[in-house]
């Protein structure tokens, strides 16, 4: 059984009206990384995941879910 981490970062970011540039500046990451994470091509490190939940002020399972491929 292949499991894949999915996230709702794009959805949450757009709902909060935050641009990728703003988010990149605030979290000190590159725009390419935001793109890769939003398109499920890169799983962020635990450190970045914790930064993300703090930034969006939501719980971990509201952003990340483990889904079967």
């Amino acid at each position: 059984m292949d499991l894949k981490v999915k996230n709702r970062i794009k959805e949450i970011r757009l709902a909060k009206g935050i641009s990728q540039i703003q988010m990149a500046e605030d979290l000190q990451i590159t725009r390419q990384t935001i793109n890769a994470v939003e398109n499920h091509k890169y799983n962020p490190s635990l450190e970045l995941a914790l930064k993300l939940i703090k930034y969006f002020d939501i719980t971990l399972d509201e952003i990340f879910t483990l889904e079967e491929e």
Binding site: I21, E25, Q28, I29, T30, R31, Y42, E47, L48
Partner: protein
């Protein structure tokens, strides 16, 4: 940070001086002019690169970093892959040369090969960094 930079520069100058002294001891007729040109060229080259980085940073309108955790992972993967390619590629070239009957390699040819490898690695790093 400033202190670390000073230590790095001092260490580099000190190491280069020791290297120069040892070189002049080991090779009596050391071409000082060529050596100086090499050292000055390297220093100017590093200066140009650092200057370009500073200039680009000063012109940047936003505060987005150029490198983050994903970039480091990409660079590490690139170096890991290139290590195998370089090792197996070099082994293949040596086997090919042996098969062709070559018994010796000129140091000049070897240095050009290493220069090309280094150049390709630098270009690869720049490409991977931007991905």
């Amino acid at each position: 940070m400033k202190r670390l930079q000073i230590i790095i520069v001092c260490t580099l100058i000190f190491s280069m001086s020791i290297g120069f002294y040892l070189g002049s001891m080991m090779v009596p007729d050391l071409p000082v002019g060529t050596m100086s040109a090499g050292i000055i060229g390297s220093v100017v080259g590093v200066g140009i690169v650092l200057g370009t980085i500073k200039f680009r940073e000063s012109r940047k309108k936003h505060n987005i970093p150029d490198i983050d955790e994903r970039t480091w992972i990409n660079i590490k993967n690139f170096y890991a892959t290139s290590l195998y390619i370089v090792l197996f590629g070099s082994m293949l070239i040596v086997c090919l040369l042996i098969a062709l009957g070559t018994e010796t390699i000129e140091l000049g040819a070897l240095s050009i090969y290493l220069l090309i490898l280094f150049f390709l690695l630098v270009i690869g790093t720049l490409v991977v960094r931007r991905q």
